[in-house]
């Protein structure tokens, strides 16, 4: 269990983490979600004692991280997969870390096996692909067989096979009763992997809820409408619906029931080619939840603005890019 209480960190005038209190519980994958710059990484740095909070505390299983004797046995972290010395072999990197926590050397071979790097571990880390470095970072996190795992964007650079592998691994680790924290700005990733969400924006807690509750609360169910008449959206709007174009073609309509749309099409003699319920994706929910917290102050109701593309900038782009 990882517990943050009143955590605050300022860099000059910027408050990166602002009075953040939440609990990451064991036995599930908790998605730690927020747009770039929301304070996710800073929170992890504070949790690991790498930076000093201006206020508040972080407790791991009830104790302060910096007071732990062999912290790798309690918390395994992957912060930045690139942060290995390029001229040191993967195996030596792990050996040095293991020695620092008096872990048996045999663990190095075990974790290398688990992440599938055994064959290449003797190579210099600089020759590794980003995906291999991610695996090396995950291996380092697993080294002490910890009860808490903090993974910052662990799927960056992984190929589809690798992504599936990480997802399965995280589920497995959570099933073993560990606290698994998956930090990401990729909403689609959360949808696939997380049970619970802790959402932050501008360093503040926005939501602490189960994934389904988060979707239900913030994702209005809409209807996907496809029709042969480009003028149809105007008619839908006139009838009181809120309409937005969908990149794949067609429109997502909120605020009008299906029979209303059908009647509208009939009276206008428009052929409907599709009329199906569609829930907003986690991306959209997320955008609506954090729109006010991102540095760009967007406009109007969130699902619409999410597609018109502006608020939050980065997360929208990266979420799209990940599809």
């Amino acid at each position: 269990m990882l517990e943050l209480r009143g955590l605050t960190k300022r860099y000059g005038d910027v408050t990166a983490v602002d009075d953040l209190s939440c609990v990451f519980r064991p036995g599930r994958v908790t998605g730690f979600l927020g747009p770039n710059g929301a304070g996710k990484t800073t929170t992890l740095l504070l949790a690991l004692g790498l930076q000093r909070p201006d206020a508040g505390t972080v407790r791991v299983g009830g104790r302060r991280y910096t007071a732990l004797d062999a912290p790798m046995r309690e918390v395994g972290a992957l912060l930045d997969a690139q942060a290995v010395h390029p001229n040191r072999s993967g195996r030596d990197h792990l050996r040095a870390l293991a020695a620092g926590n008096r872990l048996p050397v045999a663990r190095v071979g075990e974790v290398l096996e688990r992440v599938g790097l055994s064959a290449v571990a003797g190579r210099r880390a600089g020759t590794f692909s980003l995906g291999m470095k991610q695996r090396l970072g995950i291996a380092a996190a697993l080294l002490g067989d910890p009860a808490v795992l903090l993974l910052d964007e662990p799927i960056n650079g992984l190929d589809p096979g690798g992504i599936a592998w990480v997802r399965a691994l995280l589920r497995e680790l959570a099933a073993e009763g560990r606290t698994v924290v998956l930090s990401s700005h990729l909403m689609s990733e959360m949808e696939q992997t997380a049970d619970h969400l802790i959402v932050i924006g501008r360093g503040r807690l926005i939501a602490d809820t189960s994934l389904t509750a988060f979707l239900d609360r913030a994702a209005p169910a809409g209807l996907l409408v496809r029709a042969e008449d480009p003028g149809f959206p105007a008619a839908l709007s006139a009838a009181g619906g809120s309409v937005r174009e969908v990149p794949e073609g067609g429109w997502l309509v909120f605020g009008l029931p299906a029979y209303e749309i059908g009647r509208l099409a009939l009276t206008r003699r428009i052929v409907l080619t599709e009329l199906s319920p569609r829930r907003g994706s986690l991306e959209e929910v997320f955008m609506s939840a954090t729109a006010s917290s991102t540095d760009f102050t967007g406009h109007a109701s969130a699902p619409v603005s999410a597609v018109s593309g502006v608020p939050g900038g980065d997360p929208v782009r990266s979420a799209r890019g990940s599809r």
Partner: protein, 246 residues
């Protein structure tokens, strides 16, 4: 400690720096001994000091080694993995200092002994005074040269902590240890005199001398000036390293 030991020996750069230290020490000892022997005009000649004088230059290899030990981690971000694994930062830095100092002490003393032997071999062929390993002050000078290199490595390490950039660290170390002493004579006489007596990397060199000089500090007093400088920098490095956001 074992963690730092593994890290030290699993990279090429520190090992290369040690090799450079030994090779340069031997090579420069031969060159300096030959040059000084040829210039000799019959005045005072300290064969021990001559054969060990190259440590003024080879200390840069030792200092750069110290820099590498810390910068290899700060520069690559690997310091975060290290400190997440071992949150007691003073321990991490202390382990680095101990490993670096011990390694350089052993290698540096060996390099100094090599330099003395090489220098001696060169001097014997010239018409100048020579000294054997058993002569008074000689073993102190050789061991002192090893200590001098060790202190230089510690200074490099401390500077590496205080200055985060590798190039900045090298520039500071080069200037402080080598360039200031070399250009001291270009300064006004009073300043030059002060530098040649008290500047840490010059004062420290007294430890390899076997001839007393009333204008300069005694061997161990000179060395103490340099060691005190290193300890001051090291204390600053510890304070900074403990408090800093990584």
């Amino acid at each position: 400690m074992r963690s730092e030991w593994i890290k030290f020996w699993s990279l090429r750069a520190p090992v290369a720096a040690l090799a450079v230290l030994v090779v340069l020490n031997g090579g420069l000892a031969a060159m300096i001994s030959l040059a000084r022997a040829r210039q000799w005009d019959g005045g005072a000649f300290d064969p021990v000091e001559v054969s060990l004088a190259e440590i003024l230059m080879t200390q840069i290899a030792a200092a750069v080694l110290g820099l590498i030990v810390i910068n290899a981690e700060i520069g690559t971000g690997a310091i975060r993995s290290t400190l997440a694994a071992i949150p007691r930062r003073s321990r991490v830095l202390a382990a680095k200092v101990v490993i670096t100092a011990l390694t350089v002490l052993v290698t540096g003393t060996g390099a100094a002994a090599l330099a003395f032997v090489v220098g001696h071999a060169v001097l014997v062929g010239q018409l100048v005074p020579t000294a054997g390993l058993g002569d008074p002050g000689v073993s102190r000078a050789v061991l002192g040269a090893g200590l001098y290199l060790t202190v230089a490595a510690v200074i490099g390490l401390a500077v590496g902590v205080l200055v985060r950039s590798a190039s900045g660290g090298v520039a500071i170390v080069m200037t402080g240890l080598l360039i200031v002493p070399i250009f001291a004579n270009a300064l006004p006489e009073a300043a030059a005199r002060w530098i040649l007596k008290f500047w840490p990397s010059v004062a420290g060199l007294r430890v390899i001398s076997t001839t007393p000089d009333a204008n300069l500090l005694s061997p161990w007093a000179g060395f103490a000036v340099m060691a005190a400088t290193a300890l001051t920098l090291l204390a600053a490095a510890f304070l900074n390293f403990r408090r800093r956001d990584m």
